[in-house]
């Protein structure tokens, strides 16, 4: 393994890293908003809305991310709408991860005791006021650890955008390998970069879990 060669190409890796970070950040925002919307619809028991949310969750939890991504990218082109690669990756990953995040948030919402709804109802709060002012704030603390866990999975999954040609970290690494060889050194470096991003997050999760354990 010759890391000197890798070092010479490091700026290129950093470019990929930046794209991976941007894709991760945008997808975290997108999937969280989608997940929150789907979870809200699902617990709302609004007839059609909650059905749509349920189908959404089932469909995307039951299909590979790779297929979702290819479907978004080539499907949109087929429909005559040419998406840029980065946007397609954000949409594909957000839609896919949003299904998991919806379930995490829904579990959090449902873990708030019914007594909280009852107390609010008697005080005169509407269901939506109760949801926003009483239930969601309590949900935050409960869902944060599994949510961050899901974000870690999301960050690692961004590497799949490789297949639609996005110049993210892995694809840049591949380009370096194609040019100068040294696959092992490049892969180790890439793995180390992912680790540097994800490890603090998983430490954070562990800290949160330890703190929320009943004394």
């Amino acid at each position: 393994m010759n890391f000197i060669v890798v070092l010479a190409s490091f700026p290129q890796l950093l470019e990929g890293l930046l794209i991976t970070l941007a894709l991760s950040a945008a997808s975290i925002v997108g999937s969280t908003l989608l997940g929150l919307l789907a979870a809200t619809l699902r617990v709302s028991r609004v007839p059609i809305g909650s059905q749509i949310a349920r189908i959404y969750v089932e469909v995307f939890r039951g299909s590979p991310l790779l297929i979702t991504l290819l479907f978004v990218y080539f499907g949109s082109a087929y429909a005559g709408y040419h998406m840029n690669i980065f946007a397609a990756a954000v949409v594909g990953i957000s839609v896919y991860q949003g299904a998991y995040i919806a379930e995490i948030i829904r579990a959090g919402i449902e873990s708030v005791p019914p007594g909280q709804w009852e107390a609010s109802k008697i005080l005169g709060l509407s269901n939506s006021q109760t949801f926003v002012s009483v239930v969601l704030p309590q949900t935050g603390k409960i869902v944060l650890p599994p949510l961050i866990g899901q974000y870690i999975a999301l960050i690692k999954d961004t590497s799949i955008a490789f297949v639609i040609g996005l110049a993210e970290l892995v694809r840049q690494g591949q380009a370096i390998i194609d040019r100068v060889g040294q696959p092992l050194a490049v892969y180790v470096t890439i793995a180390a970069l992912y680790f540097i991003i994800c490890y603090p997050l998983s430490r954070w999760v562990r800290g949160l879990e330890k703190r929320s354990q009943p004394a």
Partner: protein
């Protein structure tokens, strides 16, 4: 509404959960300013009656009038919201809000008071339950008795016409029961209409205008406390009182 017209009227109220009929025809009137204590064995339907009167459950049949709202009419039932108060066994305080936040929430969101006015009002109510200096504490930083007093303050802040208490002291350590019952007693003295489910027989004796004994989904006996506790007519009442007064 005249003072003679009951503020709560239940007529022929039934309620089933699945195949189990929990209420088998409840008729009950409560007058304005009256303190009604409901006693009875576990599972006799006390909470269910209270939850129907407060609008948390709907009766399967019969009529329920509370504060001139026909709760048996699904189109109008929600009018009761914000006009009655309920204090729960498990407090049901909002854990993410301070005592002050708990009390102001409905004032801000339902009454649409300004933050300043709501705060002033909330502090006054907290003071009434003796907790003005704990306004900034979160529920987890309060004792059970203090938490329940905050819950009472939260309910009182919206100026309900009736207060319901469902075993408000059952979750408390014995030494903390008194601080809650004394707040309840002072409310009764001020003329609040109250329906109180409790196992505190001494509270019932001292504070109730009338005591209702529920047994297996019906009202088996009712009367003023001196009559019901001293000369119960019904055998089931006698058995129940023997059991609870022994311990």
């Amino acid at each position: 509404m005249s003072n003679l017209e009951p503020i709560i009227k239940l007529a022929g109220v039934t309620k089933s959960f699945g195949a189990v009929q929990v209420l088998k025809g409840i008729d009950l009137h409560v007058s304005e300013g009256e303190v009604l204590v409901v006693i009875g064995a576990s599972g006799s339907g006390k909470s269910t009656v209270l939850r129907i009167m407060s609008g948390l459950e709907t009766a399967d049949s019969g009529q329920v009038w509370v504060n001139s709202v026909p709760l048996h009419d699904p189109r109008r039932a929600r009018e009761i919201r914000g006009h009655v108060g309920m204090v729960f066994q498990q407090f049901n305080l909002f854990p993410h809000l301070t005592a002050l936040g708990n009390v102001t929430l409905a004032l801000l969101k339902v009454r649409k008071l300004s933050a300043e006015v709501a705060k002033k009002k909330a502090l006054a109510v907290l003071d009434r339950v003796g907790l003005a200096e704990k306004a900034g504490n979160y529920p987890s930083q309060l004792s059970g008795g203090q938490q329940q007093r905050v819950a009472i303050a939260r309910a009182l802040a919206v100026e309900p016409t009736i207060m319901f208490f469902d075993e408000a002291t059952s979750a408390l350590d014995p030494e903390l029961v008194g601080e809650v019952t004394s707040v309840m007693r002072s409310l009764a003295d001020e003329g609040m209409t109250m329906v109180v489910v409790t196992h505190e027989m001494s509270f019932a004796r001292k504070t109730a205008d009338r005591v209702v004994f529920m047994d297996q989904g019906i009202i088996a006996e009712q009367g003023p406390p001196e009559q019901l506790f001293v000369r119960p007519q019904n055998d089931r009442t006698k058995q129940f009182l023997q059991r609870v007064l022994e311990v």
